[in-house]
Amino acid sequence: MSNIKKELLYEMLTKMLKIRYFEEQIDKLYMKGEVHGTGHLYIGQEATAIGAILALKKEDVITSTHRGHGHCIAKGADINLMMAELLGKKDGYCKGKGGSMHIADINIGNLGANGIVGGGIAIATGAALAIKEMKTNQVVLCFFGDGAINQGVFYESANMASIWKLPVIYVVENNKYGMGFPVSKAVNIDKLSKRADAFGIKGITIDGNDAVGVYDTLSGLISEARSGSGPIIVECETYRWKGHSRVDPERYRTRQEVELWKKKCPILRFKKYLTDNNLITSADIEKIEKDVASQIIKATEFAMASPFPDPREATEDVYA
């Protein structure tokens, strides 16, 4: 059994539920036509963001992806501002200019989601370079998917991180598909973490649906990275329940496959871990669920009440 403190276990559960409920709410709002643009839901992958990001220190930083709501919430984003951003409102994180794929919060160490697959990899590596230069002893978690690992910028970035021993951990969320293209057809290796061999760095593959396991593994790796031993590649095996984005006929996978993975739900698994080990009561779980659900309702109300931006703001913020 892991020796994660009770307080943190509660936080993990709360935030996993927050991600799940937030995404479910966004899905509903899509259907109702309240969300103007597209979005990529993180449902099914919650344990990876939570296990990895909660293993960081507050001052550590992350870069995220187009499927970034989970990372944002895990890093402590305000869901009111997230919801408002998704609805294209003035009070959103980006004043309605970014949308789902561009939420960032520099103050809490979230250097931003990214609409380009692999777009954040070099940025994360540069943040790690700055940390080394400024000797601030932080660590960067760079999230990207199995699709992004085949982008050239990953090769360029991981190579530089390896020669300079930068404090960055590349967290590859292998959710089995790059949009509709199966990872098995996209690479000629069985484990994406084997790419680490090309850079002479450590690479491991773990169960990305096991929040406790992700937390424990990442805690150790983050300490290593902080001590200056260089970059690491961690492949987290997980699965995306929903389609790639809002419109996805899902012709590339079977319903049975999705159902199989739903049985491996990271949240159910975490709850079971907590109750089996008497770390939480069912009553407490229920209380947390209720509380999170009401936060989501409040966030939705906040977002709905927020005004749309003034058209005159459209050309503001082009330059700093």
Binding site: I121, A122, T125, S157, I163
Partner: protein
């Protein structure tokens, strides 16, 4: 005043700013021990050490991306891309990331990064080491672009660029590095981005030229002055944001406009100046706006061919005479 070569002025600006601000660092291919492909950064690694003058592998996209990441963390990177042609390898990070981060994040994050890179032809380097790509960059909102033509402007603009909170691309010209010498104050000084400069005053015709073309235009102006034709040569210095006011004010005085740029004809950035002047100062024009530009061709190797593609003084003079008719 003390004279410096264009390349020396750039090096001095970087050196002085790195001395003054520990957040400023230089990163690029062979900027360290080698001293830069054009020798511009020679000796800087000895002065500042390998942590502030960082030699990288050949990985343009990641070099620029790392500049962005470091900038987001509060540093002030100066990224050198060895030839401006190689910017194309890094365009994802330049156009999708650096240029848009401030806007996409609702003004809550800045990318104070400078990308310095030599462009232009005339060196026999062929089609992949000679381009003038400013129009591609000019089209992307969020980037500032400077193209100094003199050592004085190079130092002052670069010092401003390093302090600017937005990403700035500095397009240098290889033929200016060791050929153009000029007065440069020893202390630090800044030239405001977005301010053009009149390089020669004249009443008869306005010629707008950038980078190396400024010097060719000035040579033609000198020649035509002997015929009594007084040419006003304006150097925008910053092409984005562009100082259109100064150009329009000059056109209102001379009523004639010739635009000179080294880049290809189609979609060249001076076509934007032409359209702006035509729509905002049409009544002041006595004749058509003439553009003298590179031809729509890759830059060839042979000097005879290269000199045909890139505007030379004869072509600039011919353009001016057409505008005067």
């Amino acid at each position: 005043m003390r004279e410096l070569f264009y390349s020396e002025a750039i090096k001095e600006a970087m050196t002085q700013e790195m001395e003054a601000n520990s957040k400023v660092f230089l990163i690029g291919e062979d900027v360290g021990v080698y001293g830069g492909a054009f020798g511009l950064t020679f000796g800087m690694i000895e002065k500042f050490g390998p942590n502030r003058v960082i030699d990288t592998p050949i990985s343009e996209q990641a070099i620029v991306g790392m500049g962005i990441g470091a900038a987001l963390m509060g540093m002030r990177p100066i990224v050198e891309i060895m030839f401006s042609d190689f910017l194309l390898l890094a365009m994802e990070q330049i156009a999708n990331q650096a240029a848009k981060i401030h806007y996409m994040f609702g003004g809550k994050a800045n990318v104070p990064m400078v990308i310095r890179t030599p462009g232009g032809g005339g060196t026999g380097a062929g089609a992949q080491h000679s381009q003038s790509l400013e129009a591609i960059l000019f089209h992307i909102p969020g980037l500032k672009i400077i193209m100094p033509s003199t050592p004085y402007d190079a130092k002052g603009l670069l010092l401003s660029a390093i302090k600017d909170p937005s990403p700035v691309i500095m397009l240098e010209h290889k033929l200016l590095y060791k050929k153009i010498k000029g007065d440069v104050p020893e202390q630090r000084y800044e030239i405001e981005l977005g301010k053009a400069d009149i390089k020669r005053k004249g009443r008869d015709i306005t010629v707008v030229a950038t980078s190396l073309m400024v010097h060719k235009a000035l040579a033609v102006a000198e020649k035509l002055a002997r015929e009594g034709i007084e040419i006003e040569v304006i150097d925008p210095r910053t092409i984005k944001p562009l100082d259109l006011d100064m150009i329009i004010d000059s056109v209102k005085k001379t009523n004639k406009l010739v635009l000179v740029e080294e880049a290809c004809y189609s979609g060249g950035f001076t076509s934007f100046i032409a359209s702006e002047v035509a729509s905002k100062a049409f009544d002041w024009l006595d004749g058509p706006i003439i553009r003298v530009t590179g031809l729509d061709s890759p830059i060839p190797y042979s000097a005879v061919l290269e000199n045909t593609i890139i505007p030379n003084e004869e072509r600039i003079e011919e353009g001016i005479r057409r505008a005067i008719l």
